[in-house]
Amino acid sequence: MNNPRSINEIQDEIIDEFSMFDDWMQRYEYMIELGKSLELIDEKYKTDDYTIKGCQSKVWVFAELEDQFIQFTADSDAIITKGIIALLLRVFSGQKPQDILDAELYFIDQIGLKEHLSPTRANGLLSMIKQIKLYAVAYQTQIEP
């Protein structure tokens, strides 16, 4: 399914949403809600092949190409990680592979969650973003062999 809005439009929209929160508590509560409502990966893909093992939490991510657009589904065993995944998928799912490859991710910094992307957190999110880009590379070559 095509997402009619561009990656940057969605990033700006998320930044706008988060600007309503006064403090970290509200931001985290919202993230936790997002985590709970994440559309989950099909259980059959929650195998080692689709697992990104962080030291702290695990992440699963799966992607398929539907009519030029990549649809991502994912999950994590930690709820805050899951909340960030929900945001990442909102940005990337339904986009064209080339747009995903060209995208610069700036919203996480701006909504005050950048510590979750620190390599020391080892929660699998950094590897997940890398994996999303790898899927985009793979599907891009399918579209333009």
């Binding site: 508590m25 930690a78 709820i79």
Partner: protein, 408 residues
């Protein structure tokens, strides 16, 4: 006997870092089992070294080099006395416990054959598993595991059965980093010796809490990291009995560890230099000595008693939280509490505690076999040092409650 008085508020003044805030809250530092904080006396020692007598040791004829050598060797003697080793040459400075274990594990390669066995406890840190697995891959020797029970104590009956004439090395931690269990190492050492096996005890987690006496324990190898005993990172020690250290081949080649080098043959230096190739972490070694001096001035008996009080208090208070499960409830424990609350993921609790200024460790603590045993993805671990207080434990308990409320 010298009696020690204990004033935690006075002690806290020695630690500049304890004054800082994190995310706008006063820092509550409960990640001591990973790294302890550094008192001003140790920081001053490092500053003094670089300000006054920074020089390469052991071969310089100039004054600075001699002063640095003297201070470095004095630190070695401090550590010898602390551990009651027979001689200072049995204390090898290393980069830390991991390095120390690797020296021993790789040193055993020439002495093992495929029919030999090594015994490891189920509650080891990866650093005391992987080097031995690598050794087994090279030699064909078999690695066998001493299991633990559900409170996190080693199954000593199983140990008796595993031990045999084929056993060549037994390695085990003195205190488990993930569970806090204090292991019956004297029994392990004595029984292992009856079959002629060598024993390495990883003392990294014991050293912050109590003294270990090398001669009384009759242990073959013992390891320590400075950064767990108020010293700097990147330095530690390997204690080894002279007879073993002489037998093991050097781990690294280079300067400092030789007597004579020609392209035909090199003669290795004697102990401890045989295992200290290259320029060591001189400031680190000297500061390691200063850290041990600092802790001895407070007194390990006093430290152990106070930390036990903190452990009991925290255990009681944490258990009042609904759904909280402590992982590791051995009868003999150091001041470490690993826990989970209901099905809440430890990462989520840790992330929220950080926002509240409370530093704990979450994850598998580099002890995945322990997590597998208890069937958890990881735990939240709070570990207490002598500069922590009951008030800080109250903050932790409130913070955990708040985190769980948000997450459930």
């Amino acid at each position: 006997m010298k009696t020690h008085t204990f004033d935690v508020e006075a002690i806290r003044k020695d630690f500049p870092i304890l004054k800082r805030t994190v995310n706008g809250k006063p820092l509550v530092y409960f990640d001591n089992a990973a790294t302890s904080q550094t008192p001003i006396q140790v920081i001053d020692t490092i500053v003094d070294y670089y300000s006054r007598y920074n020089a390469n040791i052991h071969r310089g004829v100039h004054t600075l080099s001699q002063e640095a050598t003297e201070a470095y060797e004095k630190a070695r003697e401090t550590l010898r006395a602390h551990l009651n080793a027979k001689e200072a040459a049995e204390i090898i400075f290393t980069a830390g416990t991991t390095h120390a274990i690797n020296i021993v594990a790789s040193g055993f390669e020439p002495f093992l054959k495929a029919s030999d066995e090594l015994l490891v406890s189920e509650m080891e840190h990866h650093s005391n598993i992987v080097p031995w697995q690598m050794l087994c891959e090279k030699t064909g020797a078999l690695l066998k595991v001493i299991p633990m029970n559900d409170v996190g104590e080693l199954d000593m009956l199983a140990f008796d059965q595993l031990l045999s004439q084929r056993t060549k090395v037994v390695f085990c931690n003195h205190v488990s980093n993930a569970l806090g269990t204090i292991n019956p190492i004297k029994e392990i050492i004595d029984k292992s010796h009856t079959v002629g096996s060598a024993v390495l005890i990883d003392g990294a987690q014991a050293a912050p809490h109590f003294k270990a006496d090398m001669q009384a324990l009759d242990v073959d190898f013992y390891t320590l990291s400075a950064h767990k005993v108020c010293g700097p990172t990147g330095v530690g020690l390997l204690y080894g009995k002279r007879e073993w250290l002489e037998k093991l081949p050097p781990y690294q080649g280079g300067g400092e560890m030789i007597v004579e080098v020609s392209f035909a043959k090199t003669t290795y230096a004697g102990l401890p230099h045989k295992f200290e190739a290259g320029t060591p972490n001189i400031a680190g070694g000297i500061a390691f000595g200063a850290a041990i001096d600092y802790m001895n001035q407070i007194g390990f008996d006093v430290i152990a008693a106070y930390e036990h009080e903190l452990l009991e208090y925290a255990t009681t208070e944490l258990k009042k939280i609904e759904g909280l499960r402590i992982i590791g409830e051995a009868a003999q424990k150091a001041s470490v509490i690993s826990f989970n609350v209901g099905a809440v993921h430890p990462y989520d609790i840790g992330a929220i505690l950080d926002k509240l200024g409370v530093a704990v460790r979450t994850g598998h603590h580099c002890a995945q076999p322990v997590m597998n045993h208890f069937e958890v993805p990881g735990t939240v671990r709070a570990s207490f040092a002598f500069y922590n207080t009951k008030e800080e434990i109250d903050i932790l308990v409130e913070a955990v409650k708040r985190a769980v409320n948000m997450l459930q």
